[in-house]
């Protein structure tokens, strides 16, 4: 509304091809437009993070739950939780799980993308639809289906393995031991994440020019050399972003692990960072430790995300 005062000037100076009129105006309008978004972010994210920083530096035990004011203890909670072996076991497990999943996802995703590029239209469309189906599955439904597939009594996976001659999978309880528990979790996460990688990489592959590939094959390069020498360097930007996102996402798996733990897994041996925080905070009401580990996870995420954010910022500047 207040901007209407500036409009006549457009007519007065009579120079229609002003490139970016909005840029020069210095009003409070942009700030007003940001108010709702900033308010909701402060409420939904800012306040919790602030609370967490404060709580992580307070003694917040049983006495405080009965109304005593919390006592400031500086970094003592951090010192305590980081000298706890259980935390490091969870951190190590999370990092290994994250890297195995991220690399497997990207490897399979790239293979599928190459396959999509190599085949004709019909098989490509079939594969694309199958991948979109998997991508669209709500996560809770997906985990539920995989619990059924891997059910120890009548699951189809055990049946198939027995049919193939692996008799020892008769009645095998996948979720009862940590190693096979994480195998099932990996299958679910890879299944859910591959479609995104494949479709992103496929989009990048369609940019690799046919002439370059033809020239390479004329020069006698085999498929392996062409892939590593030409295709990988050309799709490297997409590849690195996709890998980075997978690492970030796989570091914070919570729901899949939590839902699989319902199936009778030993909780303390299958906890990853997310479920560990949940157990500390909700299970044991140890808010100080939960807050300290949460801050650690947030800092870790911000550190790993930095290259991704920087690449997006470049896009904004362009």
């Amino acid at each position: 509304m207040s901007t209407s005062t500036t409009e006549p000037s457009t007519a007065v100076d009579g120079s229609p091809p002003r490139r970016t009129p909005v840029r020069r105006r210095t009003t409070k309008l942009p700030y007003a437009l940001l108010v709702p978004a900033v308010a909701i972010l402060l409420l939904g994210m800012g306040y919790p993070v602030f609370w967490q920083i404060v709580t992580s530096m307070q003694e917040f035990g049983l006495a405080q739950q009965f109304g005593q004011p919390p006592e400031f203890v500086g970094l003592r909670n951090y010192a305590e939780i980081f000298s706890d072996e259980r935390l490091w076991a969870v951190v190590a497990r999370s990092i290994i799980f994250c890297f195995v999943n991220a690399f497997l996802t990207v490897a399979i995703g790239v293979l599928f993308a190459l396959l999509m590029k190599a085949v004709g239209k019909a098989p490509r469309l079939v594969l694309q639809v199958a991948l979109l189906l998997a991508w669209a599955m709500p996560m809770v439904a997906a985990v539920t289906v995989f619990r059924w597939l891997f059910d120890w009594r009548t699951g189809v996976v055990n049946w198939l393995l027995v049919q193939m001659g692996f008799e020892r999978f008769e009645g095998h309880h996948w979720l009862a031991q940590p190693l096979s528990f994480f195998f099932v979790a990996t299958v679910i996460i890879v299944w859910m994440s591959v479609p995104f990688v494949t479709l992103s990489v496929y989009a990048a592959l369609t940019q690799v020019s046919g002439e370059v590939l033809e020239a390479a094959s004329l020069d006698g390069a085999d498929a392996w050399q062409t892939f590593w020498g030409i295709i990988v360097p050309m799709i490297r930007p997409v590849l690195s972003i996709v890998l980075l996102l997978q690492i970030i996402w796989d570091l914070r798996v919570f729901a899949q692990i939590r839902l699989l733990q319902d199936g009778g897994a030993p909780v303390s041996e299958t906890n990853l960072l997310g479920t560990f925080i949940y157990e500390l905070g909700v299970g044991r009401q140890d808010f100080a430790s939960a807050a300290a580990v949460s801050i650690f996870v947030l800092l870790l995420t911000i550190t790993i995300s930095w290259p991704y954010v920087r690449s997006l910022l470049k896009e904004d500047a362009a």
């Binding site: 709580t55 085949v119 998997a134 801050i295 991704y308 997006l312």
Partner: protein
């Protein structure tokens, strides 16, 4: 929260020069041996597709079978004697409808709030240069990456302090805050894609700035707003982690929470997989249809938005 948010990186690398690529005429030119291997690759692609689609097929197929068939030692691969009994039981017997109502309410509040808030913010950062713009963008991009798992204990404490546990408003605040950053970023591309000159032309023709915006720019942004709405819908409909801490009461459960307790409730007597798969299908099918329907348009819109921006 993550899977769909990923459309951005693709957009960066999809400039317009896709067309001059020579069509795939290799197989026809080079004759027999090549085409044999291309058949092999085609078969491989089909096998991969079958493996990837199998869990979805198995969900639907099991949901149509009586539990006696599902408890048999040999699985039934093609549900020839299918019925909708499992669906009837799920819808009648349990708290499905109340969970559906809860999900619908939370989802609609989130979708509306996200569209309005993100649109206004996107307008600010793509149409204006002001002090603090870059800090806002950096903040948004980082917040977008923050995992719910790193905050949910604090969010739980916050909601319980405000007396908002088990309420639609409480979860919707958290969902909106989680989804707004990415949608701001996505809409920024769309707004930047509509040249300010169009609006100016309208103003030269005598429209006020507000009218020029409403009549010219706004309609061109419709696809972007639809895409943001769909994204917010998918996130809110599927979300599990935040719902788990924010909606502890039995009668406040959303569909994902309901599915989990529906399955676990029967765990002791042996899960009735037919009903559980029917429940999963009920949650998944609307999303899948919606997703398949808008996916192409969504990426298309994103690509054009990013290219023009």
């Amino acid at each position: 929260m993550s899977a769909t948010s990923a459309v951005t990186p693709v957009t960066r690398t999809t400039p317009a020069h896709v067309a001059p690529r020579p069509p795939a005429k290799r197989s026809s030119r080079t004759g027999r041996p090549r085409s044999a291997s291309s058949y092999l690759l085609g078969a491989l692609a089909i096998v991969a597709a079958l493996v990837w689609a199998f869990p979805v097929y198995w969900m639907v197929s099991s949901s149509l079978l009586p539990s006696a068939r599902l408890r048999a030692t040999t699985p039934t691969f093609f549900p020839t004697d299918s019925s909708l009994r499992n669906y009837e039981r799920v819808i009648e017997g349990s708290s499905f409808l109340s969970a559906l109502r809860m999900s619908l309410m939370i989802t609609s509040v989130t979708v509306v709030a996200v569209i309005v808030f993100a649109f206004l913010a996107a307008l600010a950062i793509s149409r204006f240069r002001f002090r603090g713009r870059k800090s806002f963008i950096i903040a948004v991009l980082f917040i977008q990456m923050l995992p719910a798992e790193g905050m949910f204990i604090a969010q739980y404490k916050m909601l319980s302090e405000f007396n908002l546990l088990n309420s639609v408003i409480g979860v919707s605040i958290l969902y909106t805050a989680a989804v707004v950053p990415f949608t701001v970023w996505m809409l920024r591309g769309f707004v930047a894609g509509v040249p300010a000159e169009l609006e100016e032309a309208g103003m030269v023709d005598g429209l006020s700035r507000t009218k020029a915006f409403l009549r010219i720019t706004f309609p061109l942004l419709a696809p972007g707003l639809v895409a943001s709405g769909v994204y917010a819908f998918l996130q809110a409909w599927n979300e599990f982690t935040v719902a788990l801490i924010a909606l502890p009461a039995e009668q406040a459960k959303t569909l994902p929470l309901w599915l989990r307790s529906f399955m676990n409730a029967s765990a002791n007597q042996g899960i009735d997989w037919g009903q559980v798969m029917a429940a999963s299908t009920l949650i998944a099918v609307p999303v899948i249809i919606f997703f398949l329907f808008v996916q192409g348009r969504m990426t298309g819109g994103l690509v054009s938005g990013a290219v023009k921006g």
